[in-house]
């Protein structure tokens, strides 16, 4: 617990920070001639700045006066297909699953099978007072059902495309082809959901195509020799299970999400609803707040572990229907930040601690979240950054989340029984180009309130917030075998990386596949510099497959060490240097003898032939409009000839 003195210092710092920001924005505004009146800078009581100078930039919502009348839905948890997995599923006979297609199947055979189909739902209701809108979601829902996964229990997830036909004229935006990425598990390309090998929807008598994704549920490093994952004190973080080495426990992730990755249509397809959260549990983060086993985290669990998807949506001012701008290359901003598929819902909570897993799915908007109660920021505890548990929890009063960033927070409502708390966004954004991080929106303005927590009675709270989680894997610069520099630039209205233009055909082109541009040696570490020279843009750069460590941003060492898969690049983050390891995949024997067929349909015999289709992933901007406009880079991991 914080002492009163600590609280007082924190409060003073917060006020100073906010006042400074207010003065700066006001001075800027006067300089720019936007503000001429002498309106007060601070509210009485020292709450956030009035921000009169930025009120003008609040997007005018197409729907008003509908606040907090509807309950926030919590996506249900997906159930495995029982009793014998996909084998018993009616679709199986016609659509067998090919275990041989998965790398490391023999080492990590699936213990559970899941099935979902991507479907159109013409009756998604974003608010009771709005007409129903059409979405494309997992099982026709947005957000899709949450998938709970556990380390040590490998699974196969079949994702079937049951969307309308490719030439269905009723489609108003998006393309009904699906390929879904598990962001950001340590996954082989055939299961990762990279921007190729998408599944087509049903056509005439042909059923919809599908992708079978095998998730090993092993930690990165499982192909390295046991004993290689010791920390400086000599403690071995290696995981051993049933005689198999399961990798480095410090590589554990707890929060992932599945989203659409069809190139050039990713923004539209994700916006239309293809996103779902995955919760990952392990030996100590067991999902049981009453766990008495030694070392168990006992974080809030069950109904107190709540996935939340924040999604920026735009509604037509006349029809009230969900609409999308297909001609925007900067990043489409909506006029409502929806929460779990609802506009400004409320959520009943008990007066106790909660674990919130919050994903900002974008497609382009960044947020800075605050919890507001009685005109003041309520402190909360951040335990996880980008899916990775921090080394130790930190207490915050605001938290920035760029597009695709996902964090976990513990919020303690125990002293607020009978009160209301609001989740608000205080960061202005005028376009997909950048967030205006130096300015603050008035979080108490109803337009900036996203979710109202209605705090009910107190209930017993056996949950805890541990003082420490696992340490991060050590950065060992001696392991670095290669340095690479990636420059993200804008040229003639399109995005380039190192002056080059990405396209998805290159990744099918036998000539180009034979000599991939970025070749990384398997089981080595590299130093990557991500540099933006595009002046004034913000790019959340996502690297598939591995988590990395930011060493320096613009030459400065980060104040809080994090492990992540989305790196903030661009304005205020012009040059980001990261340490990243590339391990395990491809499975060497599989790489040398890849299977010829993966599924019973549409398998062009010329496809899946080149070994370099089985060891490639991508890095891209997660402002999905930038991604769709070629801000992408393919990289290959090459096994050594001696690898077995």
């Amino acid at each position: 617990m914080m002492t009163n003195k600590q609280k007082s210092i924190r409060r003073q710092l917060e006020l100073l920070h906010q006042a400074t920001a207010a003065r700066l924005t006001r001075r800027d505004a006067i300089k720019m001639g936007i503000v001429t009146s002498g309106a007060g800078i601070l509210n009485t009581g020292g709450a956030l700045a009035q921000s009169g100078d930025v009120d003008d930039k609040v997007p005018s919502p197409s729907v008003k006066g509908y606040e907090f009348t509807e309950e926030m839905p919590v996506p249900p948890v997906m159930q495995p297909v029982q009793p014998s997995g996909l084998l018993a599923h009616p679709s199986y006979a016609a659509n067998p699953h090919y275990p041989a297609f998965h790398q490391y199947w023999n080492k990590f055979p699936a213990k559970k099978y899941y099935y979902t189909s991507v479907r159109e739902n013409k009756n998604h209701n974003f608010h009771g007072k709005l007409p129903n809108s059409t979405i494309w979601g997992f099982d026709g829902t947005f957000p899709g059902t949450t998938i709970d996964l556990k380390y040590g229990e490998p699974v196969v997830l079949r994702i079937k495309n049951d969307l309308p036909a490719l030439n269905d004229p009723s489609i108003t935006y998006g393309i009904p082809q699906t390929i879904n990425h598990l962001h950001n598990f340590h996954t082989a390309p055939e299961s990762d959901g990279c921007p190729w090998d998408w599944a087509n929807p049903p056509a005439g008598n042909l059923p919809g195509e599908y992708n079978d994704c095998h998730y090993t549920m092993a930690r990165a490093g499982f192909s390295e020799p046991p004993g290689s994952h010791k920390d400086s004190s000599g403690k071995d973080w290696g995981v051993y299970r049933n005689g198999e080495y399961g990798g480095d426990a410090r590589e554990t992730l707890s929060f992932v999400f599945t989203h659409q990755h069809r190139p050039e249509f990713t923004a539209a397809n994700v916006y239309k609803g293809q996103a779902k959260i995955g919760r990952l549990f392990d030996e100590v983060d067991t999902g049981n707040e009453q766990d008495t086993a030694p070392g168990a985290y006992r974080l809030p669990s069950g109904p107190y572990d709540v996935p939340i998807v924040i999604a920026d949506k735009h509604f037509d001012a006349e029809t009230g229907l969900l609409i999308f701008d297909q001609f925007n290359t900067d990043g489409f901003l909506g006029d409502h930040l929806t929460v779990n598929g609802k506009i400004q819902p409320f959520f009943r909570v008990k007066a106790r601690k909660y674990r919130f897993r919050i994903l900002n799915i974008g497609p382009a908007r960044f947020v800075r979240l605050v919890l507001r109660h009685n005109g003041q920021n309520l402190p909360f505890t951040k335990i996880n950054d980008n899916g990775n548990m921090l080394e130790s929890p930190i207490v915050l009063t605001q938290s920035e989340q760029w597009a695709a960033e996902r964090n976990e927070y513990i919020v303690d409502f125990s002293k607020l029984s009978g009160k209301s708390v609001y989740l608000c966004n205080n960061m202005p954004m005028e376009s997909g180009r950048k967030a205006i991080r130096e300015k603050f929106l008035d979080p108490d303005l109803v337009d900036n309130q996203l979710l109202k927590f209605v705090v009910e009675e107190a209930v017993p709270d056996p949950s805890r917030i541990p003082l420490k989680f696992r340490p991060f894997p050590e950065v060992k610069l001696a392991e670095v075998v290669k340095k690479r520099h990636f420059r993200f630039e804008r040229g003639n209205g399109m995005w380039q990386i190192n002056g080059k233009l990405w396209d998805s055909e290159a990744d099918h082109n036998p000539k180009l596949l034979a000599n991939p541009e970025v070749q990384i040696q398997r089981n080595t570490a590299e130093l990557w510099t991500l540099e933006s020279s595009s002046g004034g843009w913000h790019h959340p750069i996502h690297i598939h497959f591995e988590e990395g460590h930011v060493l320096r941003t613009d030459g400065k060492v980060p104040k809080v060490r994090t492990r992540q898969d989305v790196y903030r690049v661009g304005r205020d983050h012009n040059k980001v240097e990261i340490f990243i390891r590339f391990r395990d995949f491809p499975e060497p024997n599989y790489y040398r003898n890849p299977p010829k067929q993966r599924r019973p349909y549409g398998d062009d015999p010329t496809k899946h032939r080149h070994p370099n289709e089985h060891n490639r992933w991508v890095m891209h901007c997660h402002n999905l409009s930038h991604e769709d406009h070629a801000m992408m880079q393919t990289f290959h991991i090459m096994p050594k000839s001696t690898d077995v």
Partner: protein
């Protein structure tokens, strides 16, 4: 349409030069003004002229119910445009006679006050442009409307007013299916062909794939397009 009419149009275009300048000045003022949001996904139906001086309504005659690819250029452009035109010529050849029938190619000018149909014709002849690929000009205000609506824009006004900021985009779409996307105009021709045929025609709309007529020598592997700045 008579040549007399075309002349009048061209005169009108020349008169429009002042309009172009006014547009830039207005851009400065817009920083502090709330600009009404343009209607989303609406293709303007303004009048445009091709390199032969023939008039068209942009949406009704050139886009409606068609598969199209659209890029922006200006004849004076010494940077990306010649490269892009050559590159798209390779794509044109890959479609092997289908341009003008199954897909339509439009290159509209960012400098309508200068790029008359005659000039466009000369330009098209220099590059050996065949039928089905139209170079378009019109009144500056109309061309500006096309530019804005099709997203050949930059949110930074100082960059937006530079023509070079928009010459690298290739917009493509299937109007009947209301399906639009974009890819780099200077990208590999095979990549552009794949992007279009996998989404707005052929395989992309559930029709049989038509193999591309591949160039003998891959014309471009990776272009180093010049930067806008």
């Amino acid at each position: 349409m008579t040549s007399n009419n075309a002349m009048n149009r061209r005169q009108a275009m020349r008169l429009g030069m002042g309009g172009g300048a006014a547009l830039i000045a207005a851009g400065g003022a817009q920083a502090s003004e709330r600009k009404p949001r343009r209607p989303l996904n609406v293709i303007p139906n303004v009048e445009v002229f091709d390199q032969d001086g023939r008039p068209y309504r942009f949406h009704d005659d050139l886009v409606k119910n068609k598969v199209v690819m659209v890029n922006a250029f200006y004849a004076e452009c010494g940077g990306a445009c010649p490269l892009v035109t050559e590159n798209l010529k390779v794509v044109y050849d890959m479609f092997d006679g289908r341009v003008g029938r199954d897909i339509h190619m439009y290159t509209f000018t960012l400098q309508p006050e200068r790029d008359t149909p005659e000039l466009l014709k000369q330009y098209a002849e220099v590059y050996g442009i065949g039928p089905g690929w139209k170079f378009l000009t019109g009144k500056p205000a109309d061309m500006e409307e096309i530019r804005q609506a099709l997203g050949f824009t930059d949110v930074d006004r100082e960059i937006d007013i530079l023509n070079d900021s928009h010459t690298g985009i290739l917009r493509y779409g299937n109007d009947a299916l209301k399906r639009w996307a974009a890819c780099p105009a200077a990208g590999r021709p095979e990549g552009i062909y794949f992007s279009i045929t996998s989404s707005v025609m052929d395989a992309g709309i559930g029709q049989p794939k038509v193999p591309a007529k591949l160039p003998q020598e891959p014309a471009h592997q990776h272009h180093h397009a010049s930067s806008a700045t």
